[in-house]
């Protein structure tokens, strides 16, 4: 990332519309996350990283590609912090600025099977690429 961390953190707050300072660190987001085990930075930690502007760790994080956008953390957050929106915003700055796509069309043929719905391809492309 070329931009300074402060600017990046601002961008994440702006794209997500989330104020991470509202977090009271109850951990409910992580408790309810179905991808928790797969994430290196857990949802409640993710919020703290944005607060502390520790952006380099976030944009390198596996968490960006493990979030399912199922909105369990968004629905269940007692402070309306919506960690899933922060994760999505960090993912956005990665795919927008780095071109670091998580999915390439070349990978598709071997991922297909006869039952696979079009919806899955469309969703994955929108989620993993610019």
């Amino acid at each position: 990332m070329n931009k300074p961390a402060k600017k990046q953190a601002e961008l994440i707050r702006e794209i997500s519309g989330v104020n991470p300072l509202k977090c009271m660190k109850c951990g409910k987001c992580s408790a309810t996350c179905p991808s928790y085990d797969e994430m290196d930075i857990k949802p409640h930690q993710f919020v703290s990283y944005v607060q502390n502007e520790n952006i380099e760790a976030l944009v390198q994080s596996k968490t960006l590609w493990k979030c399912l956008s199922c909105f369990a953390c968004v629905e269940r957050c007692p402070r309306d912090v919506r960690p899933g929106k922060l994760i999505d915003a960090a993912r956005q700055i990665v795919v927008r600025e780095r071109g670091a796509d998580y999915l390439s069309p070349d990978e598709i043929p071997e991922l297909l099977d006869p039952e696979l719905p079009q919806q899955l391809l469309v969703s994955a492309f929108r989620r993993y690429r610019r």
Binding site: S16, P34, L111, P117
Partner: protein
């Protein structure tokens, strides 16, 4: 009664049954689904970024066409419903998105969220009524123990989707009762199936679906029903308990005695 109808990409391809049974059932219940002309794919996932505009426009086009026809807009696929309903909420309540989307659209009259978006299940509940549906059932599915699989997209975020209580929904259970079967309530019915993660990380979504299947089976369900082609696909990949998974419209058509009519109405 005539509604505008947005089928979406998968209902024209892998999920033709979801669509055909819905149309055959609509005819039996006395309403018509008029397909939006030249609809475009919704994108499958709602673009969360507050500065994402272009990715929301296909929904705005469908919403505006329904508005111009003076019709409510009906969806069937959970993902399309989620995306279109949330974009409509943005157009209604978020001034920046509304202004910028309308700058792209260049409509004679700007679109500002006027259309009502209804999922097919909401049409059954709020326009037809489950009591009326029950009266029209000719072939009640007596004795079948059915688990409703809601997943995430229809319910959350509850403040926007306003589909049902996001933590303790009843709409699909009420639907199951209306068609004469017995609903089985189980804890994982509103937890995520893994969604798009199943493209690259098949093991991860399989584990989630195993948990859902085991939960449903443990509470006595003999089958699951869903409104989402991706949930159906993911659930069918579970190797834990092999409960059959159906689209809710298939059981609806069966109960209404129009299951064989689906070929006729399918385009």
């Amino acid at each position: 009664m005539k509604y505008s109808y947005y089928p979406g990409c998968t209902l024209r391809t892998k999920a033709k049954d979801l669509d055909a049974y819905a149309k055959a059932s609509a005819r039996a219940l006395g309403f018509e689904l008029e397909e939006i002309e030249n609809w475009q794919c919704c994108g499958g996932v709602y673009p969360l970024g507050s500065d994402e505009i272009a990715t929301k426009l296909s929904s705005v086009r469908a919403l505006n066409e329904a508005k111009e026809k003076g019709q409510e807009l009906v969806t069937l696929c959970s993902a399309c419903h989620h995306v279109i309903k949330r974009v409509n909420d943005d157009m209604k309540h978020v001034e920046d998105i509304r202004t910028r989307a309308n700058n792209y659209m260049q409509l004679e009259t700007p679109y500002a969220g006027e259309t009502t978006v209804l999922h097919y299940l909401e049409v059954l509940r709020d326009r037809i009524g489950f009591d009326v549906l029950k009266e029209k059932v000719v072939n009640p599915l007596t004795g079948r123990k059915i688990g409703a699989y809601y997943g995430c997209l229809l319910l959350r975020p509850g403040s926007v989707m306003a589909f049902d209580n996001p933590e303790n929904p009843t709409i699909i259970e009420d639907f199951i009762r209306a068609i004469g079967a017995e609903p089985v309530v189980y804890p994982y019915r509103n937890e995520c199936c893994g969604g798009y993660i199943s493209l690259k990380e098949k093991e991860l979504s399989k584990n989630m679906c195993d948990t859902i299947m085991e939960s449903a089976e443990g509470f006595g369900a003999e089958m699951l029903i869903t409104a989402c082609p991706l949930c159906l696909y993911n659930l069918n990949k579970s190797t834990a308990k092999k409960l059959p998974v159906y689209y809710f419209t298939e059981l609806l058509a069966e109960a209404l005695g129009v299951k064989d009519a689906k070929e006729e109405v399918a385009k």
